[in-house]
Symmetry: C2
Subunit: 301 residues, 2 copies
């Protein structure tokens, strides 16, 4: 069997049964009366929502959509349409006022905030400026502290959004005694490609052991709309920035590298099947190491 | 050596040196340029703030005070006075507007919200009502889901406050590239006496391995104001509710039980030194077990 097909060699039917059992089991174990999912309109949260509906029935599922000023309008539409298609209850609440209250939008000039057309250009220029000044790549710099003031401003600007979201998701889940089901997948978890205490929090994480490419396979099996599956994945936190812009690798290549590392393949083997360069493999290893502390309980003495 | 003196037999000078090294070490390791502490005016956050000042000097420390409508005015005053006495920079920001935005204060009647004098009475009545209806004690019910609607409303009402706080604390720490130093102590950690992803989040937790009674000893060594040390500890989330009301045990007794369990003493030995009953010991063991999932990365499949 080839390496790539090994990565994708998951028994989808068994996997689905395991996940449904897993969700039901925690509802019982934690004495909850339903489940809640934060829905962005991206593939991961749509898959999780669908899984929850399969696990406990649409009447026990609450989809919470929390867009803000910078959210891609296509994602908002997709989220609403998808939740509607499953006929689950929806809470739709803009978090924009919370971000204004904290002064988040004041970090950048009003032209960036107001004119959608200028945003992507502005962001690209800002990232170029920061990249030129710093030797280290931005994704790695993101995983630890950095003295570049513009980079820190950008980090503060995007991370608060997911943290406000998780606070609100916990609020509604507690009010309803619902299980808060999160959406982080294995690729994100291993690379630290999440906002610590933002999207990385929940009661349970059913995609925890699935690489992104495996989530895509599961999405197809679940007959999630093609337009959601084929949309380029994006954290939807900074206008115009896609997942692959941040990670610097296409998901299939990244997953093949991660899968190779997980299974103790030699770098040469990984290079052969993934077409990655040695530099790319070394970078991924560095990312895994540098993101270790993000996955743990706050470091204690 | 007696059991109680064993619990308090910490070498304060060595401990202090270890904590200061620990804080400095993570500032360097995570490439931060200062530290940030959320200050409530209680003993734990005051101790942590003082430790940070000792570790990195007052010019590199930011104290963030985030009160809301229900906050005890004595705590707010203590927080401001203590931060002032250490001459650190202060950010003072009321989170009340955030809670209004989300509708949190609308969960209870306006009389509860507006009249401070009625609050404590109202809360006691509400808790009595919930307690009478349920066999399990409220603290344990708090650790998992529960079908009592009034209990869930209360839980949602108090937990969101610490979650909004932690979101804001991360925001300011990222904006400044500061290390976010948390305040959870060992007693709280082991018993789940924290708000998951509320006060339980930070970059590092210097009190992580100190029981509450050991924190008090350290506070005296650090010459923290007597009035702060002697104040009855309170989460300051619900008017009138103190730590011991929620835990149902005085801290010294609780710590002696926890210390005994940690050191594999027999229940009979624990009873002898702590004056706890078998029922109390069993309850603490149940609390430890039920709170296990709160300390972990969200449960994955």
């Amino acid at each position: 069997m080839s390496y790539e097909s090994e990565l994708l060699d998951i028994n989808t039917e068994k996997l689905l049964a395991d996940i449904l059992y897993f969700i039901r089991n925690y509802i019982i174990g934690l004495k909850k009366e339903g489940v809640l999912v934060g829905l962005s309109g991206g593939i991961d949260s749509c898959v999780v929502l669908k899984l929850c509906v399969e696990a406990v029935g649409k009447d026990n599922v609450l989809a919470v959509i929390l867009p803000e000023k910078d959210s891609d309008s296509k994602n908002i539409k997709d989220a609403l349409k998808f939740a509607d298609s499953l006929d689950v209850r929806i809470i739709y609440k803009k978090i924009t006022p919370f971000l204004w209250l904290l002064g988040v939008y004041n970090l950048y000039p009003p032209s960036f905030i107001i004119k959608k057309s200028l945003q992507e250009k502005f962001v690209k220029k800002e990232i170029d400026k920061i990249s030129k000044r710093n030797k280290e790549d931005i994704f790695i710099a993101n995983l630890e502290g950095h003295s570049d003031k513009d980079l820190n401003k950008g980090i503060a600007y995007y991370r608060i959004k997911h943290r406000i979201r998780s606070s609100i998701l916990f609020y509604y889940s507690e009010l309803n005694n619902y299980l808060f089901v999160g959406t982080v997948n294995k690729t994100e978890r291993i690379t630290g490609f999440f906002v610590k205490y933002g999207d990385s929090v929940a009661d349970i994480m059913p995609l925890n052991s699935l690489y992104k490419t495996q989530v895509i396979k599961l999405a197809k099996f679940l007959k999630i709309d093609e337009s959601i599956i084929e949309k380029q994945p994006s954290p939807d936190l900074i206008p115009g920035i896609k997942d692959e812009d941040m990670i610097g690798l296409p998901y299939i290549k990244l997953d093949l590298i991660l899968f190779g590392i997980e299974n103790n393949y030699t770098d040469n083997d990984i290079i052969k099947v993934s077409n990655a360069s040695q530099t790319e493999i070394d970078r991924v290893k560095k990312i895994i190491e540098k993101s270790e502390y993000l996955r743990a309980w706050p470091i204690g003495l």
